[in-house]
Structures are given as C-alpha cells and as structure tokens.
C-alpha cells in the first residue's frame, strides 16, 4: 500500500472525527442538556407547560409573524435579488453590501432604530400618529422588526440561483416579444423557484428565534405581543426553567425540521445543477 495514501486516509479520518466531535461538543450537547431540563420534572410537566394558554398564544404569534415576514421578504427579497444580479447601475456594489447590514448590527439596535422612526419623535411615526395609527407595540411593529432582521436571507438565496441561471432564456423570451413583466413572471420566477424556497425556509426559521429586536418593538405584552423567545426569557426569569425549556425545545425542533426539510428538497436539484 502506498504510505502517503495511508497517511492521507488517516488525516481524513482524524479531521472527520475532530469535526464531528467538536460539533457535538459545541452545538449538540448544549441542546441535549436543554432537553434534559425540559423533561426533568417528567413528561407530564413538560406537556403541561406547553398547554399553558400564554405559551400557546406566544407560539401562535411566533408562527404568524414568521409566516408574514417570510411572505413579505419573498416579494421584496426576490425583487431585490433580481435587481442586483440582472441590472448594472451606479451604486450597485454599495447596495449589495448594504443588504447584509441587518446581519451585522445588534438586533437590539435594530429595535431601537425602529422605535425612533415609528415613534412620536420620528417623521413617519408623527405622520401615522396624527392619523391615530400605532405601529409599534403591536403586530405591524413586530413584523417590521422581523422583516428587517431576516431581510438578507431571501436576497442571498435567490441571488445565488439567479447567478447560475443563464440569461439566454430571458433573452429568448424578449426576442419572441414578451413584455418585461412577462419575462419576470413566466421565465425568471420559475427558474429561481428553488432559491425562493430555500430563502423562505431560512427566513422562517431565523424569524422563529428572533429576540433582540422583538423585545424592543413588541412591547412584550403577555398574551398579546409576546412571541415565543420573549416568553422563554420571561419564564426563565421567573424561575420556571422547565417552562422555558419546554418552549425552547419546541422552537428548536421546529427549526430543525424546517432546515432538514430544506436539505431534502434541495439535494436533488443541487445534483442536477452540478
């Protein structure tokens, strides 16, 4: 046997073991301990905590906001991705860099920025206030926060697919006399379907765990504007660690299933593209 080859497989084996081991230690083990806490008092207590009306309300709101944020970003994110990849215009690179800003700034700062803009001190807030429309501390405010925080996911997922789809199909449609909107709706959109699906899954699962911006803009009103993560935080603070862990497990599980589903949906097309 070739000694170099032998070495090679050894290195590969070691890397494999190290990566798996570290992943288990750094990522999986903390999640497992959470699970331990959740069922520490028995599965009955776990179930009981999940059935609590405040918990159910918080989970329902979380799902609703995540769905709405995903829908909004599916539209504006896809448009943005289309703009960034299909057109060349001055400032495109700057705009492209700006798209990722929501990932970089602390979410609490995002929340505060929204409060300033939609509050009585901001021009938008004053305009709406005069018409008796209160955006913050209500569902629309929460939605604005989530749309902001999850914005990059859809743009990037759709953008990546758009980059790999040749323009020839679009050009052909144009030569055949299709109008610009028809090209977008009947040629581009079907081609980037996979990207939209991937972006939607990522947006949705990120939205499920959103905390920093939510606590600022939601008003944290129990049973009305308190989302799952905020509920978890308040349960933890009142000393009800079982209650906090129960909801956390559920959210983590939901995220995992969504991301797993994404892998299953994606893999065949990935192979086809390659």
């Amino acid at each position: 046997m070739n000694p170099a080859r032998n070495m090679d497989s050894l290195v590969r084996g070691a890397t494999f073991a190290a990566a798996l081991g570290l992943f288990f230690l750094l990522i999986l083990l903390p999640l497992v301990s959470l699970n331990q806490y959740a069922v520490r008092e028995g599965i009955g207590v776990f179930w009981d905590r999940l059935k609590n009306p405040d918990a159910v309300g918080a989970l329902r709101l979380t799902a609703l906001v995540a769905l709405a944020a995903t829908a909004v970003n599916a539209v504006i994110g896809t448009t943005m991705a289309f703009l960034l990849t299909r057109y060349r215009f001055p400032g495109r690179k700057v705009l492209n860099a700006l798209v990722d800003i929501p990932l970089a700034i602390p979410t609490v700062v995002t929340g505060f920025a929204l409060l300033l803009m939609y509050g009585p001190l901001g021009p938008v807030g004053r305009f709406l206030g005069e018409r008796n429309i209160q955006v913050m501390f209500s569902f629309p405010g929460l939605l604005l926060g989530h749309v902001f925080v999850t914005f990059p996911f859809m743009v990037r997922a759709v953008g990546a697919v758009l980059e790999s789809v040749p323009r020839s199909g679009e050009d052909a449609a144009r030569t055949l006399g299709a109008k610009e909107w028809q090209v977008f709706a009947f040629v581009t959109l079907p081609a980037v379907k996979e990207g939209i699906i991937a972006g939607a899954f990522l947006t949705f699962s990120r939205s499920l765990g959103e905390f920093g911006a939510s606590i600022m803009v939601s008003g944290n009103l129990v049973g009305r504007t308190q989302t799952g993560p905020l509920y978890i935080f308040s349960r933890f603070n009142t000393g009800d660690v079982e209650g906090a862990a129960a909801i956390a497990i559920l959210l983590a599980l939901a995220s995992f299933l969504i991301l797993l589903l994404l892998q299953l949906v994606q893999s065949p097309t990935g192979r086809r593209a390659a």
Binding site: M216, S218, G219, V222, R224
Partner: protein, 327 residues
Amino acid sequence: MKRLLVLLVVALFAVQPALAETIKINLHSCCVTEDATTKEILPAFKKYYKEKFGKDVDVSASFAGSGTLKNQILGGAPVQVAVLSSELYLDQLKEKGLISSDWRKNPNNGAVIKSVIVFVTRKGNPKGLATFEDLARPGTKVLHASPDTSGGAQWAIFAIYGAGANFRNLSFGPEDGGVKLLSAVEKNVIAQPESARQTFVQFDAGFGDAIVTYENEALLEKAKGRDYAISVPKKTIETEWKVARVDKNIRPEQEHAVSELIRFLYTMEAQRAYAKFGFRPVEKKVEKEYQTKYAKVAEPFTVDDLGGWKDARKNVIENVWKKTQQR
C-alpha cells in the same frame, strides 16, 4: 530555557501565600445599586477593612436584574453576599439550601436600602399626572417593565393596586378598589419591556406619558440631564432591598469579611453613599440628613399591607395582574 521555566513555576507558587493574604469575596447586587456600590461603598469598605483588620479584601461585584442574579446563584455562581429587590428570591435561595441563616436577623429585617414607587412624566408634566388614579384616565399612555423579568415592575404593580385598595378589606375580587384601579391603569399600558432601563429607552424614543418606576431610577435619569418631571403620588408603596449571606458559598477564611461587609452596608458611610445615588437610607441619622432631598409620601404603605411578599405576589400579580392582560 527549561530551567527558567521551572524557576518561574516555583516562583509562582512561592508568591502564592503572599497573594492569599487578600480575601476575595463576590457580591451580587440588584442592577440599580451599581453606581453607589462600585463608586463609593466598595472602595470605602476596602479601606475600612485594611485599616481595622490589617488585611486586604477584594470584593468583586456583579449587577443585573434581581431575578437574573438569583438564577445565577442557583446555577452555581460563587457568590457570598446578595442584595436583591424581592424577598421571594431570598426565599428561593433558602429552599434550595444556598442560604441557611436567617437574613431577617440583620437590622430592619434585612432591608438595607429603601425607595418608593413614583412616576416619571414629560418635561413640566403637561398632562398634570399626580396620582395613580390619573394614570387611569383614558388616553394616558403608561410604561412599566414586565413583572416577569423586573423586580421593580412587581413593586410598581403593588403600588398601583395598593393605591386603590382598602387594606382592611383586600378581596382581590371585581369590587376591590385596588383591582379596579390596576385594571384601569393596565388598559393604558402600551409596553412592558424587560427592565426599568428599557422603559426609559422607549420613553426617550418618545413613547408614553408616564413611566411607573423606582424613585432612585427616576432621580438617576434626571441626574443624567434629562428634563423629565417626577411625580411622587400621595399614596404609594415603600420598596426595600434586602441583603443576605449565601452561606453555602462561604469558606471559613471568608466568614469574617462577609459579616463585616454586611455590617458595613448599614454604616452611616455606606448609607450616605446610597442616599447620594437616589436611594432612601434606612439608617435613622442619615435619613434625617437627607429628608429634604426626598419628597414626603403622605400615605406610604408596605408590601406587608398587601399580606407580605408571598401572598402579594400570588394575589396581586399572578391573579389580578395576569387577568388584566387577557384581552
């Protein structure tokens, strides 16, 4: 090279006994006490201890909401002394075996500082809000922190309930004056962020007409240069912070410094420092010195008027307040 390393290691161990002369203790104290504690009380205690007992003491302090601190101690944080805003937290530490002594044996049943619940309004108090009944007026927008995460918010809710209640007849039913007042005020509450500090962030952004909070927190904001007005209602609750030793975490060599630190918090020196930062002192002489700084409350009441912490928490927050949230 090797020899040098060995020497270094030996030197390190040789120095060890000299370092051990410094007694190290950890203090967990409710977030609102941070300035008074780090700027004045701890340096003064260090000096006092060195002068009186000839030993160095090093107190590292950590500040967060009382609930968070309590959770950290339950989770194994090596803390020897705790100053918390709710007796219930101390009770929980006792139940879990971390506290075995009786903190009520300290002066004032363990209360080391006091304050009252007031409300902060916009510059010049344009809506003329003076009592908790005023906060119930339709169209008034009120902020207070969430009682699930903030000790101060629990006191705020006790204050509002108590302002409307008849202490000789607390029924907690729909005809109870306290329930009526609390329900009416809660209808006007637009947000309940995590902590008192966060309510001020939202207030700064222009939200709300009034924040219900500790007087010391309100004074602190004013000291920062904000032009808000403070209303001290004529009937409001007196709040207190209690100190306790976390017996399970105290090693024999820390014993002396721990009891001295707790004793020190009641001295005129420490009480003046607290008073300087907006707390109401419990030491009688210092209280007199500062009586002009603090508005007199015409009808003060305490959590005991509401049946003590345990019952008040159960009846006023978990029962009455919870119901006001369901809309």
